[in-house]
């Protein structure tokens, strides 16, 4: 396998291509749905096209794009951080914490699901940090152990609450855990963008350091990287990305695994290429999956997590097989 050299021109070209794919997805996918709409009528403010486009489909497509981009970028980050190609944004427990928060809110009633989910994600993050920082030097290994432990505890607590939930609540819990995209107010999209976009820019800025860290902590340290600080900031940023989107959409599997892997196979492992491309194509991928989710059985909707898993499962098996052939 020949791996091409990374140049500024190559980074610009791949980023521009993947950016175009994202823009095309955001521009055209709102046209698809159970009701036909016309862009010119919607832009002219004519009813009901304008209400459907700007009130329902566009915010939903934008949420799918932000979520897909954030999960794909977080996937790239956690795979580098843990030196594990099978790591996902959910490996270190933040999404389980978010899910636990949501499940508790559903059980208590009152409808405040996403703030509770965000709180759950934040508390899990703090707990993992506190456990992992027990040793003097924060390492990927301690982070992984703490994350996996918290993950298991949160999953057990979710089952505990679900066991005592009523029928309606239990259905709501299962539905939330499947993951799904809904239209949200533009204000929510604005704060989500304010979290996601600077985080991804930061990850891109640190690309060369992720390259070194993905070779190993000692490798990075002997080449001048302050690994402890980098792991800490990486974990915080990755958790922020994962927690913020999971609070709004629930856990959506496979995006953080499929997109980085497909890209690594085609453009290599350099994070200067991977991070922007993963973000843009992750956005495009989830937008397409969500469009399928709301159109295949229209007017009924399939949870988008089901679509990503159906597409992601076979891909995952193929990836494992090709990986075992390589090694």
């Amino acid at each position: 396998m020949v791996v091409k050299q990374v140049t500024a021109r190559r980074v610009w070209t791949t980023s521009l291509l993947s950016f175009s794919a994202m823009v095309a997805a955001i521009a055209f996918l709102p046209l698809f749905g159970s009701a036909h709409i016309d862009y010119s009528r919607a832009i002219a403010g004519q009813s009901p096209d304008a209400e459907i486009l700007f009130g329902v489909r566009l915010p939903r497509v934008l949420l799918a794009a932000l979520t897909g981009g954030a999960l794909a970028a977080a996937g790239v980050l956690f795979q580098a951080l843990l030196r594990e190609t099978l790591a996902t944004p959910y490996t270190l427990g933040v999404s389980s914490g978010a899910s636990l928060g949501a499940v508790i809110a559903i059980c208590l009633g009152g409808g405040r699901v996403w703030p509770a989910s965000l709180l759950g994600a934040g508390l899990t993050l703090l707990l993992v940090m506190a456990i992992a920082s027990e040793s003097r030097r924060l390492s990927s290994f301690t982070l992984l152990m703490a994350g996996i432990t918290l993950n298991s505890i949160c999953m057990a607590l979710i089952l505990f609450f679900q066991n005592f939930a009523g029928f309606g609540q239990s259905f709501a819990i299962v539905r939330w855990l499947m993951g799904g995209i809904d239209a949200v107010p533009y204000g929510t999209l604005a704060w989500l963008s304010a979290v996601v976009l600077p985080s991804v820019i930061y990850l891109f800025w640190k690309s060369r350091e992720w390259n070194l860290l993905s070779m190993g902590e000692d490798w990075a340290a002997t080449r001048g990287v302050s690994t402890s600080t980098l792991i800490l900031t990486g974990y915080l940023i990755g958790s922020l990305l994962t927690g913020a989107v999971t609070a709004l959409t629930g856990p959506i599997g496979f995006v953080g695994l499929i997109v980085p892997h497909a890209l690594r196979l085609s453009i290599g492992a350099d994070h200067r290429l991977l991070i922007p491309s993963s973000f843009f194509l992750g956005a495009a991928f989830l937008t397409i999956c969500d469009t399928l989710a709301r159109t295949i059985l229209a007017p009924a909707e399939i949870p988008v997590g089901v679509i990503t898993a159906i597409l992601g499962g076979p891909f995952f098996i193929w990836m494992l097989r090709s990986r075992s052939k390589l090694h």
Partner: protein, 254 residues
């Protein structure tokens, strides 16, 4: 003096792996650290690489304690060839070598001088021909040479190598030590942990013999490699001959 170690010790939990090590190393020196498994060789190298700050005693680079060195500045002076480097992701051999230039740049991309340093490092380690190959598809020996190239691309004053010849064939074992010999002639300090005593005796200026975490011998090859020291440290009787250049040569016998 580049490195100075004063009464250095190290514990892994209750186990003492190194104690009372006092050493100094200077420029233009090729030193080999030998000793049986578990003698503390790799631990000593890791301490000098700044990877085990919890050690006791004092380790200084250019007169300054290692803990006081900013990581990046330290990496501009000292580079490390680890014992084993597994790679999970599809980096090319050239990308792996380019990582050695990280201590010298702040930008997103490598400069022309970085590219030149990488090409030179790959030329002298005979790795240029597979610069675009996926590192994971290279043989053990080819990988090891790429790792050496990455460490050399760091343009170090001191190069620390942990069993660098383990995966190398005979030709590349000899050419690596010849390369180190030549670089030391230009001012490099190279310290190599090795189990190949004959290779060390043939090329090193100095051999340090470790046993149970302490230094049992330190000097020129013929001062360190003799029947008594080998029997004491390795619990093995061997025949020691002299090469034409006067360096000791272990004959393992039948």
């Amino acid at each position: 003096m580049i490195f100075r170690l004063q009464n250095v010790g190290m514990h892994y939990g209750p186990i003492e792996v190194l104690r009372g090590v006092t050493l100094s190393f200077d420029r233009s020196e090729l030193a080999a650290i030998i000793g049986p498994n578990g003698a503390g060789k790799s631990t000593l190298l890791s301490i000098m690489a700044g990877m085990l700050p919890q050690h006791t005693g004092e380790c200084r680079l250019d007169g300054k304690p290692l803990a006081k060195w900013p990581r990046k500045l330290f990496a501009q002076s000292v580079s490390v060839v680890p014992q084993l480097q597994s790679v999970e992701f599809p980096f090319s051999a050239e990308q792996v070598v380019l990582m050695g230039r990280m201590p010298f740049s702040d930008g997103m991309f490598e400069s022309a001088s970085d590219e030149a340093a990488v090409t030179h490092a790959m030329e002298i380690t005979d790795t240029l021909q597979f610069r675009h190959r996926d590192f994971r598809t290279l043989s053990g020996g080819e990988r090891q040479r790429v790792i050496v190239a990455s460490a050399l691309a760091q343009s170090p004053k001191a190069l620390l190598l942990d069993e660098p010849t383990t995966f190398l064939d005979l030709e590349h074992q000899v050419s690596l030590y010849r390369l180190l010999r030549s670089l030391c002639g230009d001012g490099l300090l190279a310290i190599s942990v090795t189990h190949d005593i004959n290779l060390a005796a043939a090329y090193a200026d100095r051999i340090i013999m470790l046993h149970n975490g302490t230094i049992v011998a330190d000097g020129k090859p013929h001062e360190v490699i003799h029947n008594a020291s080998i029997r004491k440290v390795f619990s093995t009787d061997v025949e020691i001959q002299q090469s034409q250049s006067g360096r000791p040569w272990i004959h393992y016998g039948g």
